[in-house]
Assembly symmetry: C2
């Protein structure tokens, strides 16, 4: 993403309760993010006894951080297992709802949470608000690929299980804007996830969606398959949220499984242990590039602000990287450009 060129300050609201190992892991992530980006300020949403002392003590060891984090006190908590829409409607004083409201009211330009994804989505839609003309906000992430330095934008990751073809057209249009805003790629190759290359493959629904993309989106290059997600052949691949979520979890699951088996194999004898030692540093680099956790946050696209959701199992590094990505995203002209692309406001 093209941060660094823009030196304006940005305020990101962070959910102190959003992560399996919260708040400790979040607090460390906030400190790292503030250290890494001097134009960043954080509004930390969480219980008083957690966020107030953290904000007060911040900067005691590193004066550069002093005064750059301010508390946003929540009195309720939405757990990982709660029903998203119900929890968001009931718990107006939860860190997730307060964070999304802070963005709506301009007190922050973005919100980051590693908490309940469905609740973040519901709160962002209800309280931050959809961009005019957007039928359904969607979740996207950048997948690492075999092509060095290249990622593939993949969406929808599960915000919309039941879709209509025109939702998927909008996902593709929004993906196009994200690519232009974050990678300066203005001529992207966009694919539709399907079960064969030919236009007439797939369910009736996917055949119809393929036709719609052919008609309306000049950047559409045809169907992509599950095996194309990590090759770097496409700049973006779009799918309904059900198929997208299944594909994402299958991808993450296979990567995890292979890394586990690789570890077992390397620890299986004295000989393999020596081999592993020689490979250690290079393998670590490879694992880091592929690790879904380090790939980081999912961006919620289609709401009036930068809302990002990290993995519940995030480490402090992953939280830090999620906050920094939210800040970069908040500094783009994403909302205005999405309106233009969807013809809500003519350029």
């Amino acid at each position: 993403m093209s941060s660094g060129e823009n030196n304006e300050n940005v305020i990101i609201c962070v959910d102190a309760l959003g992560a399996d190992d919260a708040p400790g892991v979040v607090l460390r992530g906030v400190e790292q993010a503030l250290g890494a980006n001097s134009n960043l300020a954080v509004k930390l949403a969480g219980p008083e006894d957690c966020v107030v002392p953290f904000c007060e003590n911040l900067g005691k060891n590193n004066p550069a951080l002093k005064g750059r984090c301010e508390p946003l006190i929540s009195t309720e908590e939405i757990s990982m297992s709660e029903h998203p829409a119900k929890a968001v409607r009931k718990k107006k004083n939860s860190s997730i709802v307060l964070g999304c409201k802070a963005v709506a009211e301009g007190e922050a330009q973005g919100f980051f949470s590693g908490g309940n994804t469905g609740a973040c989505l519901a709160a962002a839609t209800l309280f931050t608000g959809r961009i005019k003309g957007v039928k359904r906000p969607m979740l996207m992430t950048l997948l690492p690929t075999l092509t060095p330095g290249k990622s593939t934008l993949f969406c929808d990751l599960g915000a919309n299980a039941d879709c209509k073809p025109d939702f998927i057209l909008q996902f593709a249009q929004m993906a196009k804007v994200v690519l232009a805003q974050t990678t300066n790629n203005t001529n992207p190759k966009i694919g539709l996830l399907n079960i064969g290359e030919e236009d007439e493959k797939g369910t009736m629904f996917y055949q119809e969606t393929n036709q719609l993309l052919r008609e309306k989106l000049p950047e559409f290059v045809g169907n992509a398959q599950g095996s194309d997600l990590l090759t770097g052949e496409f700049d973006a691949v779009v799918a309904d949220g059900f198929t997208g979520n299944v594909a994402l979890k299958t991808l993450e699951g296979s990567i995890k499984t292979i890394f586990k088996l690789l570890k077992q194999t390397m620890m299986s004898s004295a000989k393999t242990k020596i081999g592993a030692l020689l490979l250690k540093n290079d393998l670590k680099k490879m694992v880091k590039n592929l690790d879904p956790e380090s790939v980081g946050a999912a961006l919620l696209i289609g709401v009036k602000g930068a809302v990002c959701v990290g993995h519940g199992s995030s480490s402090d590094k992953a939280i830090c990287s999620g906050i920094l990505k939210t800040a970069e995203y908040a500094k783009t002209n994403m909302v205005t450009e999405i309106k233009k692309e969807l013809n809500v406001e003519k350029a």
Copy 2:
């Protein structure tokens, strides 16, 4: 699978043209399969100038193979890229159609091809015929898992893009029969591929399917996710053919990508090359266990015979293993047991 206990002879028809590197790779695969199973005989479907000399020369170096392969002469060929249903209707003298007919007429108990999957499916449905009561035949495979010695049966791999909930119920019932017949597992844990553990997750279609499985299938233990496919937690996972195909290709694609990156990493310096040398044998074993190609053939379940489809990119070993699996499958009571399970014929 429980072969070896049953010493009756079995005749399998093999498509000499079914593989990217056909016929050479297929002929070597047939020879290996005949060598590995002394109760096996092969009917080899293909052009006269290919199959006749092969059958005549077989056994010149190894007398044990003599007379165990007989030609089935085809005069047409269905290519990988042809439209399945059209090709099958038009090319009645193709190896795929002749093979499926041989099974229907009792001249062979099974058919194996590494050719056009859609054409095999269409020919098997049209000429071998659906088992009475089966709404839709489906494709299944065994996925390798993290749990040593355990596979997970996964279906539908793409035979039916558009499904109804009761098709998926039947897929699960047929999977149950396959597990009982091939692994003696009579109390399997069967899952439905979905985007969350809770019954109410997923599209309206998947919510309805979940409810139907809860009502009708005692072996249904709930939703599985993409990340559960390789853990060994489920004995079988069922999905519609669109989602199943996307998940399978995503799985295969990620495994291939990681192996490629692993190879690159290992060849990146003198130090890593020495490390790789020490790990070579153990890694080969690991790769072999996970390699989708060595995992082998997809079984077509729901037709009146054992029809199996291998990867187009199959090696001779993969062809051999596919033929042996087809033979094992042909020796089970699958068809009778599927009728019983679907209540077409009472036990």
